[in-house]
């Protein structure tokens, strides 16, 4: 490895050298003025000794793997406050999400990658079987009909105005929270439907940096939407 002095002696600049090795930096972090505005407004600045300003330096200096291996891109919530404040408009979120993308899939923290795989396999993140799901919707619909006469949950209704996805945590753990939207649709006399397959509204590929899976999950939702000839698609997330 060359020393800094040798690099400078040869007339190369450290920052722009060997760009091909910097998978995270792209071209934007080159613009960083190291002002620290990003880190100054971030609630997790200092966790694990890192912050957004340091993350940019790491990407720029070619310490990609160190950043990819660190917890910081996952403790960052991708909230975008840093990017909003950056005077140089550096694409900080894209950089952090790329760091997530470059993690081996079996090293994605927690359940999210398993959820993505489950969603691709079963159509929802928690693997609720179709029959159980349809039974639950019918059962809950009948329960709500005691309060709202004639209510039922429309499934795969062709030509409905609105197609609705569902957050799997609700059928899985908080089923009665689905009543809120159902009551509103009932009161508005809305023409709506949900679907018997690929109804998951939570796309964890967004968070794990998995573009291919994310696109496939979206594609299936759009396929349902086109097949049922609905006017609007509503993802109540």
């Amino acid at each position: 490895m060359k020393t800094c002095k040798e690099v400078l002696m040869q007339g190369e600049t450290i920052v722009l050298d060997k760009r091909e090795k910097r998978r995270l930096a792209g071209e934007y972090p080159d613009l960083c003025l190291t002002c620290g505005t990003c880190a100054g407004g971030c609630p997790v600045t200092g966790v694990d000794g890192l912050d957004m300003r340091k993350a940019v330096r790491m990407a720029l200096l070619g310490l990609d793997q160190e950043l990819v291996d660190s917890r910081f891109p996952w403790i960052c919530t991708l909230c975008g406050r840093c990017e909003e404040a950056c005077p140089m408009n550096i694409d900080l979120l894209k950089m952090m999400r790329s760091a997530r993308t470059l993690r081996d899939r079996d090293k994605v923290p927690g359940v999210m990658h398993k959820g993505v795989e489950m969603c691709l396999k079963t159509g929802n993140n928690v693997g609720i079987p179709k029959e159980d799901y349809l039974f639950l919707l019918e059962d809950l619909g009948a329960e709500l009909a005691e309060e709202l006469p004639g209510f039922e949950v429309p499934v795969d209704k062709k030509g409905a105005r609105i197609m609705v996805t569902i957050n799997s945590k609700e059928p899985f753990a908080e089923p009665e929270d689905m009543f809120f939207w159902w009551k509103i649709f009932y009161a508005a006399k809305e023409s709506w439907t949900t679907t018997s397959e690929n109804w998951e509204g939570v796309n964890w590929g967004l968070f794990t940096g998995d573009d291919d899976s994310m696109k496939e999950i979206v594609r299936r939702i759009v396929e349902n939407y086109k097949k049922l000839e609905c006017e609007y698609l509503l993802l109540p997330e």
């Binding site: 609630p43 997790v44 966790v47 917890r71 996952w74 403790i75 960052c76 919530t77 991708l78 909230c79 975008g80 406050r81 990017e83 909003e84 979120l93 923290p109 927690g110 359940v111 999210m112 959820g115 309060e147 709202l148 006469p149 609105i162 957050n167 945590k169 929270d177 009543f179 809120f180 939207w181 009551k183 509103i184 009932y186 009161a187 508005a188 006399k189 809305e190 939570v202 964890w204 967004l206 968070f207 794990t208 609007y232 698609l233 509503l234 109540p236 997330e237």
Partner: protein, 156 residues
């Protein structure tokens, strides 16, 4: 179509009727990163005013947190953090949000995002001692405020 556009359409057009007296308490609204500044950046429109308008159709006493809208602080549960194993860091993150909420003095907090609602309701309230603040989804607030013709609108 966004939840905000739809709820606004229902209320504006009179398709649903709302009773404000069901939520007399001082109420505040949390801007989720995704509906607010990230929507503005990605789609050219941040949902700042629509949810505030919808909330204020359901409540009379409204107060904003500071900072808010484009400059709002994340609840700490975003980006998948709610589903990640770093609970200590997630709670540490949320301290700013918790202080923002407590500083308003509101007793009802409205959030139009599953992640934000869960992080604030199930975690931050216990960790930062504001169990007296009720947390509702935006559509939960609307559903709980509904007046439906021909139906006995009993209190939930």
């Amino acid at each position: 179509m966004s939840v905000h556009d739809l709820l606004k359409e229902y209320i504006e057009s009179g398709r649903i009727k709302i009773d404000k007296s069901k939520h007399p308490e001082l109420t505040t609204y949390h801007d989720p990163c995704n509906y607010a500044r990230k929507s503005e950046k990605t789609f050219g429109h941040g949902y700042y005013e629509e949810p505030r308008w919808i909330t204020q159709q359901c409540v009379d006493n409204f107060v904003d947190m500071h900072p808010n809208r484009r400059n709002n602080y994340c609840c700490g549960g975003g980006g998948g953090a709610w589903a990640m194993p770093y609970a200590e860091e997630r709670i540490h993150y949320g301290r700013v949000k918790a202080k923002q909420i407590k500083d308003t003095g509101a007793k009802l907090l409205v959030a139009p995002c599953h992640n934000c609602r869960d992080q604030i309701m199930k975690s931050l309230r216990q960790e930062y001692d504001f169990m007296d603040v009720e947390v509702k989804y935006l559509w939960e607030l609307v559903a709980d405020s509904l007046v439906i013709d021909g139906v006995d609108n009993k209190e939930e």
